[in-house]
């Protein structure tokens, strides 16, 4: 099976936020440094996924671990951004609830050879909800344009990626059952949003405020 060029472009785009994050490391606040570490982890995750794929070993289990790490990192970032106690508690509750769901899925339902659609969609919906809250709060509380805040770009990236891929992800096993050709065609949407997300993540490091 040949991997489409667009998939390679999407894979290479993962290096951009990690590189930009390292470039701005000294100026970044603590939360953005955590985000840089997350971007580095994502790059490593991608390299491992690619390597396992090339070796013909199933890499699904990596994707299943990636979800919870991504969700906790981004919720931590949003938690650091919001100032209202109630919203912070809500984010903590979301993180706790998702962790329980993830563990239940991991030990009771997960098939390591199969992509866990349900738990992935749950993660996307949690992150999209958190993004909407953060975007809404940014407009109300930012002293200046929201575009000058890193969390605006991260929340926007999470929201657009979620909106663009949640349905496709939900049907990924169905699409896969239709054959690799259909899967390849559809996954172009996913790769497109991966590139957009990585560019928006990279943009977030260039903001003067967190």
């Amino acid at each position: 099976m040949t991997i489409p060029v667009f998939a390679h472009v999407a894979a290479v785009s993962c290096f951009i936020p990690a590189a930009v994050g390292l470039w701005y490391w000294k100026q970044s606040p603590a939360a953005m440094r955590v985000f840089t570490l997350f971007c580095l982890y994502s790059t490593l995750h991608l390299v491992m996924e690619f390597t396992l794929g090339r070796l013909g070993i199933s890499n699904q289990f990596l994707m299943n671990y990636h979800q919870i790490i991504e969700l906790l990192c981004i919720l931590y970032l949003f938690h650091a951004r919001v100032t209202e106690r109630r919203t912070q508690l809500f984010f903590r509750a979301l993180a706790a609830l998702y962790s329980v769901l993830w563990l239940v899925n991991k030990f009771l339902y997960e098939d390591p050879e199969r992509f866990s659609e349900g738990i992935t969609i749950a993660a996307m919906l949690v992150l999209m909800t958190a993004s909407v809250i953060v975007l809404n709060m940014s407009v109300r509380t930012a002293a200046g344009p929201v575009t000058q805040h890193s969390t605006f770009w991260i929340a926007l990236a999470v929201l657009l990626y979620g909106a663009g891929t949640v349905i496709i992800t939900g049907f990924s096993n169905t699409i896969l059952a239709m054959g690799m050709e259909a899967f390849d065609t559809f996954w172009h949407i996913n790769w497109g949003f991966t590139i957009l997300t990585n560019l928006l993540y990279a943009r977030s490091f260039r903001c003067p405020s967190f």
Partner: protein, 164 residues
């Protein structure tokens, strides 16, 4: 079967497009709201700056002596030229030394009244200048709420030569 596949794929595509439309719409609303709020903030800052400039012009060109001061401890923070001329001094610090040393406990009285009532309405104060002239002033002041700062207006009533 191909018809079913096409139907499934069409539904996925349409549903994705609808969700995306909502997401982009929301992002657009957020950005335009932010732009509107920033414009409103700039408008208010400009208004405040203009108001401050008007106040400064009134303060500096007033025929009455005006000053801003802290009454506890007594520190003169800002003065206009008229009040400096009234007391025959050239700097805020000289005026502060003069006022914090008013005879007959007048400085203490200013502090007590501002603490208790928040305003002083035309209190008569007098002090002898080093050149032997006794001057009487009408001193009015209003305290800034919740602070030890006050704004005062001083009017010169009389100046009479001291005998002996």
């Amino acid at each position: 079967m191909p018809v079913l596949l096409n139907d499934t794929l069409s539904v996925i595509l349409i549903a994705t497009a609808v969700v995306l439309l909502f997401a982009f719409g929301y992002a657009y609303v957020i950005l335009s709201s932010s732009r509107r709020i920033v414009q409103e903030q700039h408008r208010r800052i400009d208004e405040l700056r203009r108001s401050e400039e008007r106040y400064k012009a009134l303060f500096m060109n007033s025929l009455a002596g005006m000053m801003k001061f802290s009454f506890s401890p007594f520190i003169v923070l800002e003065t206009n030229q008229t009040i400096l001329e009234m007391f025959n001094v050239t700097t805020d610090y000289e005026l502060q030394r003069l006022l914090s040393d008013l005879p007959n406990g007048q400085t203490k009285r200013i502090e007590t009244v501002l603490h208790a009532k928040g305003t002083i309405d035309a209190m008569e104060i007098e002090f002898p200048t080093p050149t032997g002239i006794k001057r009487r002033f009408l001193f009015s002041a209003k305290r800034e709420e919740g602070t030890n700062l006050a704004h005062a207006v001083v009017i010169l009533m009389t100046a009479e030569r001291l005998i002996g």
